[in-house]
C-alpha cells in the first residue's frame, strides 16, 4: 500500500466510546486526520452521537481512508455522516481504499448509519467494513451503494462487509460492480439494472432465543435471519431514495 499513499491522500478517523458511569457515554478519543473529521453532536437519544464530516471530497483514486470506532462495555453510540461519500476518479490509475473497523463490547450498542456511498463515473474504490462484536453487543449497521450520480455510468466499486459475533463470522459478503467487475454483475442474477443496493445488519443477543423469520419485502428486498443472532436486510432499488425507503421500512419491522 506504500505505493498508493505516495500519490494519494491518507485519511484516518478514530472514535472510542466509553460508558461514563452516570448512564451516559463519553468519547475519550475523537480524532480525525486528513479529510475525515468526526464531530460530536447533540444527541436526541440515549448515548453519544457523532457525525463524520468529510472536509474534502473523495476518496479519489489512490487515496486510503480508515475509520474506526471502538465501543467499550455498556457504551452507546450513534454515528452518521454529514453527506454522502462520493468516490471520484483520481490523478492516478490506482484504486482508492476505504476501511471501516468497528469493535463493540458486551452491553454496548452501536448505530452505524452513514449516508450513501456513491461510485461516480470513472472512480475505482475498494471498501471494507468489518464489525467485531462481543456476544452481548448490539449493532444496527446500514450500508448503501449507489452506482453513478444521476444519469452517469457507474464507477468501479467493490464492497466487502464482514460481521463477526463472539469470534464467529456470521456474515461475509462482497459485491463487485461497475466497469471491469467480474462478468454478469449487471445481469439477472446480480443487479439486473438496479443502481442502488443496500444492506442493513441488526445484531441483538435476543435473536438467539427468538429468531426473526425470513420476510420478503416486495420486489427487491428481503429480511433474513443469519446463522447467528443477527438479521440482514438486503435490498436493490432503482435509486438511492427508493433504497432508503425500503431499508427504513425493514428497520421499522424490527422495532
Amino acid at each position: 500500500m506504500d505505493g498508493v499513499t505516495v500519490t494519494g491522500v491518507r485519511g484516518h478517523a478514530r472514535i472510542v466510546a466509553r460508558a461514563d458511569g452516570r448512564g451516559g457515554t463519553a468519547l475519550p478519543v475523537l480524532d480525525g486526520e486528513g479529510p475525515l473529521a468526526p464531530r460530536r453532536t447533540r444527541s436526541t437519544g440515549p448515548g453519544a452521537k457523532v457525525m463524520v464530516v468529510g472536509a474534502m471530497s473523495g476518496p479519489l483514486g489512490g487515496d486510503r481512508f480508515t475509520l474506526s470506532a471502538r465501543l467499550e462495555e455498556g457504551a452507546r453510540l450513534h454515528v452518521g455522516s454529514a453527506a454522502a461519500t462520493l468516490a471520484l476518479p483520481g490523478q492516478t490509475k490506482d484504486a482508492a481504499r476505504y476501511d471501516v473497523r468497528l469493535d463493540v463490547a458486551d452491553g454496548a450498542e452501536l448505530h452505524w448509519l452513514p449516508e450513501q456511498l456513491i461510485a461516480a463515473e470513472g472512480s475505482d474504490l475498494y471498501v471494507t467494513t468489518r464489525a467485531e462484536l462481543a456476544a452481548g453487543a448490539r449493532l444496527v449497521l446500514r450500508e448503501e451503494q449507489v452506482l453513478g450520480r444521476t444519469g452517469e455510468q457507474p464507477g468501479r466499486l467493490t464492497s466487502r462487509l464482514t460481521v463477526r459475533i463472539a469470534g464467529r463470522t456470521v456474515l461475509d459478503q462482497e459485491l463487485s460492480c461497475g466497469p471491469g467487475a467480474p462478468g454478469g454483475w449487471d445481469g439477472p442474477a446480480v443487479l439486473a439494472g438496479y443502481r442502488a443496493v443496500g444492506q442493513l445488519v441488526v445484531v441483538r443477543p435476543r435473536f438467539a432465543r427468538s429468531p426473526v423469520p425470513a420476510q420478503v419485502l416486495g420486489e427487491g428486498a428481503a429480511l433474513v435471519p443469519l446463522a447467528g443472532p443477527a438479521v440482514l436486510v438486503s435490498a436493490v432499488a432503482p435509486d438511492a431514495l427508493r433504497l432508503r425507503r425500503l431499508l427504513d421500512e425493514a428497520s421499522a419491522r424490527l422495532d
Binding site: 466487502r160 464482514t162 464467529r168 463470522t169 456470521v170 456474515l171 461475509d172 459478503q173 462482497e174 459485491l175 463487485s176 467480474p182 462478468g183 454478469g184 454483475w185 445481469g187 439477472p188 442474477a189 446480480v190 443487479l191 439486473a192 438496479y194 443496493v197 425470513a214 420476510q215 420478503v216 427487491g220 428486498a221 428481503a222 433474513v224 435471519p225 443469519l226 446463522a227 440482514l232 438486503s234 435490498a235 436493490v236
Partner: protein
Amino acid sequence: MSRAALLVLADGRFPAGGHAHSGGAEAAVKAGRITGAASLEDFCRGRLHTAGLVAAALAAAAALGADPAGLDAAADARTPSPALRAAARRLGRQLLRAARATWPSPGLDAVARQFPKGAHQPVVLGLAARAAGLGPGDAAHCAAYESVSGPATATVRLLSLDPFDATGVLARLAPELDRVADSAVEAARRVADEGTDALPAASAPLLEVMAEAHAAWPVRLFAS
C-alpha cells in the same frame, strides 16, 4: 489422479439431487429476467462469478483437507438467505449419500456422522472429490460448472428453450469457468495459513433476495 473419476462426479446424472434445483433460474424466469439464451448467459455469468466462485473455493479447500466444520461455517456466512442455506445443506446430504455409495471411505463416513442434517453442498463436493482421488482443481471445476449447468438445464424445462442454445451458453462460459476455478484454488490454498477469511465472499443480491421469494411460492417446479 483419474480424469474419468472427474467425469463421474461432474456428470449431470450423478444421483445427488441437483435435478430438482434451478439455481435461482425459476425465480428469474418468472420475474421476466431470463427470457432466452442471451439473458440465460448473462444470468449464468453473474452466478458463476459470485455463488459459483464461492462454491468452487469451498470445494477446493475441502479437497485440500481444510476442516469441514470451518468451511461449513464459512459457507453459512456467505449465504445470507436461509432458503439457500437449507437447500445447500439438503443437497450436501444427498451428495454425501451418493458419494459414500460411489467411493466408500472412512472420511466420508465421518462427515456423515459429523453433519447428520447435511453440510453445505460445495464442502461435501470437495470431500467427495478427495475420496474419488481428485484434486482441488477438479473440485473447483465441478462446483463452478454446477453453478451454471443447473440453471441452464432448468431453463430448458421452464422456457422450453432450445437445448442446443442452452448447451452453447455453457460452452461459451468455459474460458471464464476455467479462470474462476483457478482463482478459487488459489484462494483455497491460502486457507491453511490465513483461515477461511481467505475464501472469496462474492455475492449476488438478487439471487439471495429472489431465493426467499421463491421459497414462499405456493406452486413451483423447482425446490430452489
